[in-house]
Symmetry: C2
């Protein structure tokens, strides 16, 4: 017997028929003798409809009212799933954030979970009942409903799993696990049976859309074993676990890519202290997130070229801000390039294996792919290349690191 | 300065545009220097949609989950109205039943309000803020969401008005007040400026659909002055008040009618003790509500004819139950008649004026309208007649009691 938290996303509970399907999947775990708690998202499309109504009601909206309205999506889904479970003979009841309670800070619309009292949930599970918890929501210090923002329901599920000391948190989604690379591009991509928190975090940050970074961070901090699997078929998923649960470390576990990148280059910037702050200060003030940054070695000893990346959505605003400051910054040219992609090779084994970056550079060079920017971390190497090479680069790297299905 | 509770029904908050209209109406009361609390129903159609989803999820549903799902309709409306108020510069915040809190019993789906703590609401109003309270819902002893059943939002409004000692509870609806008779039938019907609780209660019970009896009962018990008025125009409405607030009592205040009646006659029933119990016991067990009952004087001293009315929806079931018991009950014929209407003349002045019933009988007789059953209370005379005479009877009675607009 184990204690398990199951989380079902919006497409899994898209209509009443699918909710019935989810109920049968929950029943299977219960019939296997497990204690089960369930976390649900709102039915697909419902949250967007509610957000739209809020926008219609008031252009500048009060985040507390936004939360009161938007949280109803998960409330409805939780009630319906509890009913569907009862209909097939599984004892169940819904819990709203304030009923658990899930206490958050007061940052309405993007609240962070501060604590969860597991008492009620544990009692219910011990009595053989399945608590069905509305995801994405909690209660703030002002006793008003809060929502957790993007990735909220996954975060709720992992937090609940931590609070009730669950053996596993199963995240049911519309993909059946974590792959070595996007299988739509790399047909030889393999599903990973296991992956470490650190790798999953890098994959999520670098563009893989399976889990939100926030829920992975929480899982890592509380050592919650997370399984990603499909709600539509029965194949085994991917287990996200601690490093010591993986016997044989791979050097490279996966390759991620992000097309949501734009490159900006400033030429002939004065090579003196304070110039970076003068460039990036205004961007930070405008909430523009700068990712990769490279400053070339100055040839003349007086000026330097500076290249950095932002998201494509922020490119126009970035250009405007820097153009307005040309006199102050004293650069010669300001060159935007939205046609770039960031490719990241990720693997915890890199820490003990040299040559991972070299393999990457050599493999891309052999195909004539020019590397524009490089950045590295302990378990990741990322390069920026021209977008047109995306598919080619992913496939040759996948082969070069021995990840192909044989 | 006064303290006022305003309640807006589903059609008044039918879409975001109408919610904006409601917000401006609330603002008007605020600008006049009043302390205002608002109660809202769900947007038209939303509750039915939610009920439908519950039915799809489980045929036999858990009323607690039903409540958790259905209560979201009012939650959304309260949030949106709070936003719309803020958008036009009125300080406002939404309150859900559990946030006020509105404590109810545990009869989920048809809960009764047990107490309301007015502290938070009074604080907010004293600070110049408008609390926007989700109608129709509360929190039960098990700390789960309850809903109040039919007429729930009106009941919430009156209960809030009682709790905060409001000077008036304004119920905005799609009619502009209480009329002496249905103006769609009696074109000379007059809008009443004032009516007593007792009369309103009889009118509501006898088929007038302006207010639900339950909210009128609560208003009467707590002496809450209720005003019924239209959310779509600015004409003055009808004030429902205590008897001593009406200077000049009318003998008859209004004439109501109900087509939702069916008559059943059993002929030659044995005229002995216990026969009524044998007939009405099985109907009560089947939750069939019997309204008017007449037992004719026995001609032969041994048998009697018995006539009673039920709602039309219950007629078939009533017939089945009685047919199955013919041997036991020993009646000769069982005669159904769904083509009847109940007409009720209501007025608090009846208590001190004789001849009201006589006027009714004489007026109907002059038009050749046969009275099938009669029932009376202290302030009401009801008769059952053939349905085809409905319009004629209403018009001639309206004239006979001097109610016509002159």
């Amino acid at each position: 017997m184990a204690r398990i938290v199951q989380k079902f996303g919006g497409t899994s509970v898209g209509d009443v028929e699918r909710i019935g399907h989810v109920a049968r999947r929950v029943k299977r775990e219960v019939d296997a003798g497990n204690e089960v708690a369930v976390v649900v998202s709102a039915m697909t499309g419902v949250t967007n409809q509610l957000v739209e109504r809020v926008r219609e009601a008031a252009r500048l909206h009060d985040a507390r009212e936004y939360d009161a309205v938007v949280a109803t999506g998960e409330q409805v889904a939780a009630g319906l799933l509890a009913l569907a479970l009862q209909a097939i003979g599984v004892s169940a009841r819904s819990f709203l954030g304030w009923q658990v309670p899930i206490l958050t800070d007061d940052a309405h619309g993007r609240a962070r979970i501060q604590s969860i009292d597991p008492t009620l949930l544990l009692q219910r599970m011990a009595d053989g009942q399945v608590p069905v918890i509305a995801g994405f929501q909690g209660i703030g210090p002002d006793r008003r409903i809060t929502t957790l923002g993007r990735g909220g329901s996954d975060t709720t599920a992992v937090a609940i799993a931590a609070a009730v000391a669950a053996e596993r948190c199963d995240i049911y989604t519309d993909v059946d696990g974590v792959y070595t690379c996007d299988p739509r591009i790399v047909t030889k991509a393999r599903k990973l049976a296991r992956i470490t928190y650190e790798e999953m975090l890098e994959l999520a940050s670098q563009g893989a859309r399976v889990l939100h970074t926030r829920s992975v961070e929480m899982a890592m901090n509380h050592r919650v074993r997370v399984q990603v699997l499909s709600s539509f078929d029965d194949s085994p998923g991917t287990l996200v676990v601690d490093e010591d649960e993986i016997m044989e470390q791979r050097t490279v576990s996966g390759i991620a890519y992000s097309r949501d990148e734009a490159k900006v280059t400033l030429t002939h910037v004065a090579d003196r202290p304070g110039v970076a702050a003068a460039i990036f200060g205004p961007l930070a003030d405008a909430s523009i997130n700068v990712d990769m940054i490279v400053q070339n070695v100055s040839a003349d000893g007086e000026t330097t070229d500076l290249t950095f990346t932002v998201t494509r959505a922020d490119l126009d605003k970035t250009m405007q801000l820097l153009q307005a400051r040309q006199a102050e910054l004293g650069y010669r040219a300001l060159l935007p390039d939205p046609k770039v992609v960031k490719i990241s090779v990720i693997g915890i084994g890199m820490r003990s294996h040299a040559g991972v970056a070299l393999t990457m550079f050599r493999t891309l060079a052999e195909r004539g792919i020019n590397i524009q920017v490089i950045s590295t971390s302990e378990i990741k190497v990322s390069v920026l290349i021209a977008e047109e090479y995306t598919e080619l680069a992913l496939r040759v790297l996948h082969t070069a690191y021995g990840l192909d299905v044989t």
